[in-house]
């Protein structure tokens, strides 16, 4: 496995100064009361993608297993929650727990065979897993098939609901950050990074590689599933094509790489930027918005392959050219 670029080592978690963190916290708490509903939705989406990119980061960024089809847990979480709520009439929080448990189990069961594969093969196997799961959900009766599934209508003021989901997604994002930053300084975290650099070496030093890989994927799956569950409740209607959508998976990946794979805050930064660019492109260049995104992705991969977090020490033309020189043929 080629190691991912990006900063690493024990000093990977550079917690911003306390004052800055408090300030950011206050802004995030107060912002929804100031900005309009449109921006609340935009920021809520950013939170969701931030959490998704962080979840991908655990298995792909830290452990080095490119789980390209991780969106399968987004869909599973959404469907598990929606089914629990519609068929068994459980509350949102109980259904969320159901979703998490199902995603964890799925990751564990499929992880043992799949995590033996490396590199492209693993990436493709996860992709196949997503497509196969989608085909099953589309065709079995109780999920509503391709017609999709409507969740119980949320009663209450639209304004309040917007605020509610703003804070649900914010909570999700914070859990993703907290889980990531806690895990990386544990045995598991060190083990995962060791696996990424050299799996054989890690195993010969006594790292239980299989168990760590599966655990890391379960964590990633749980967070992704939570996001799916929250999303399902937020939009109120899900269908296989929307929640098992590979473009969500690719977005999570792009955000992670753009921000910096294997860093705590990189995926958040990536999510913020990709969503902002997407927004500007949508409003300003309607017909060319995917092309814009495509060009940005190409430019990022060429010039800042280590992600934006690798530019913390300053951005110079020379550094960009050095990046190109490092991986050109």
């Amino acid at each position: 496995m080629t190691p991912l670029r990006g900063s690493d080592g024990p000093g990977v978690l550079t917690v911003p100064p306390m004052a800055l963190a408090v300030l950011a916290g206050v802004i995030l708490l107060l912002a929804p009361f100031v900005i309009g509903n449109y921006w609340i939705r935009v920021v809520t989406t950013m939170f969701m993608f931030g959490a998704l990119a962080s979840a991908t980061n655990i298995i792909a960024g830290y452990t080095g297993y490119p789980a390209f089809g991780n969106v399968v847990f987004f869909g599973l979480g959404a469907y598990a929650t929606a089914l629990a709520m519609t068929k068994f009439r459980t509350s949102f929080w109980t259904s969320l727990a159901v979703g998490i448990v199902i995603c964890c189990l799925y990751a564990a069961v499929i992880g043992f065979p799949l995590l033996r594969l490396r590199g492209h093969y693993f990436a493709i196997a996860t992709l196949g897993m997503n497509e196969a799961t989608r085909a099953i959900v589309e065709n079995v009766g109780f999920t509503g098939g391709g017609m999709g599934l409507s969740l119980p209508v949320q009663r209450g003021d639209v304004q309040l609901l917007n605020l509610y989901f703003y804070f649900v997604m914010l909570g999700l994002l914070l859990s993703a950050v907290v889980i990531t930053s806690c895990v990386i300084s544990t045995r598991l975290g060190y083990g995962c990074r060791a696996i990424r650099f050299d799996e054989e070496a890690a195993a010969s030093c006594g790292v239980p590689t299989t168990r760590y890989k599966v655990t890391a994927w379960m964590l990633s799956a749980a967070l992704t599933g939570m996001a799916g569950a929250a999303y399902a409740n937020w939009v109120g209607y899900i269908e296989p094509a929307a929640v098992f959508d590979m473009s969500i998976a690719v977005k999570m990946f792009v955000m992670m790489i753009l921000g910096g794979a294997g860093t705590v805050f990189g995926p958040l930064l990536g999510a913020l930027l990709v969503e902002l660019v997407g927004l500007v492109a949508w409003t300003q260049l309607l017909n060319y918005h995917t092309a814009t995104l495509g060009v940005i992705i190409i430019a990022v991969v060429i010039f800042v392959p280590g992600g934006l977090m690798s530019l913390r020490r300053g951005l110079t033309v020379r550094r960009l050219l050095d990046n190109v020189r490092a991986s050109r043929l």
Binding site: L114, A123, I124, M129, A132, T290, A291, G294, I302, S327
Partner: protein
Amino acid sequence: MLILQLIINGILVGALYACVALGFSIMWGVMNLINLAHGTLIMVGAYVALLLFTFGGLDPFLAIPVSAAVTFAIGYLLQRWVINLVIRGSVFLTLILTFGFDLLLVNILLVLFTADTRSLTPHYSGLGITVADLVIPYIRIGVFAVAVALTYLLHVFLTRTRLGNAIRSTSFDREAAELVGVDVTRIFPLTFGIGAAMAGAAGVLVALTYSFSPVLGGAFTMKAFVVVVLGGLGSVPGAVLGGLTLGIVEHLSTLVVPPGYQEGIGFIVLLVVLILRPAGFLGKPFYAEVKA
């Protein structure tokens, strides 16, 4: 009789699948590069044939060289000036880069041709031969024949010519190839170009078989994945075996499972093969596997 018809259809489509996957397979095998824009290059080939057919009245089968030339040029330039810059980076980067290129290409196709579904209908479409109860459209036979011919040509090129041998040696060991004088900076763009040309040619065959639109490329990239993994990386006979297997399995599966599962079947087969035999039916240790 139904089973026989299904197997025939499976073989006819399977040859097309092999053709769709070949370009993808050699890029992956030689450069350890997964080209997520492969399906969209196939669509480019389809649209070139559509243009020539609508405005020049050119028979789609004769448009194949033109389509292949156009996608060869796109592929060569892309590899020479863009992908070569990052090819030594991690597998993530090239994966994401080709995805970015795919977004760009789909957008260009959408602007040029709109999202409307098109189809290529030469005057002999709809005609076919009937033997006993078996129906085989002429177009399917033509597509099959061309797919087989293209596959054979690529095989001969890779195994019998100097350039083909240079490409194959690069896929076995890049450094060793460089030591014996292979110019890898030139071989990589050529490999991508040839892979893309195969995609363009396959695009014409796809356009003759299905209706198409700019956003359908992804579905063919997926097919290519399945075929390559089934048959084994970078091997022409492997792609043929993988393509035929997928075509036949997809068609026969309609006997036992509801048609909605047809798309998913390929992926279930893929997962099983990956778990049991990650190198595919005919896979040998290639550059990608040694390095990965």
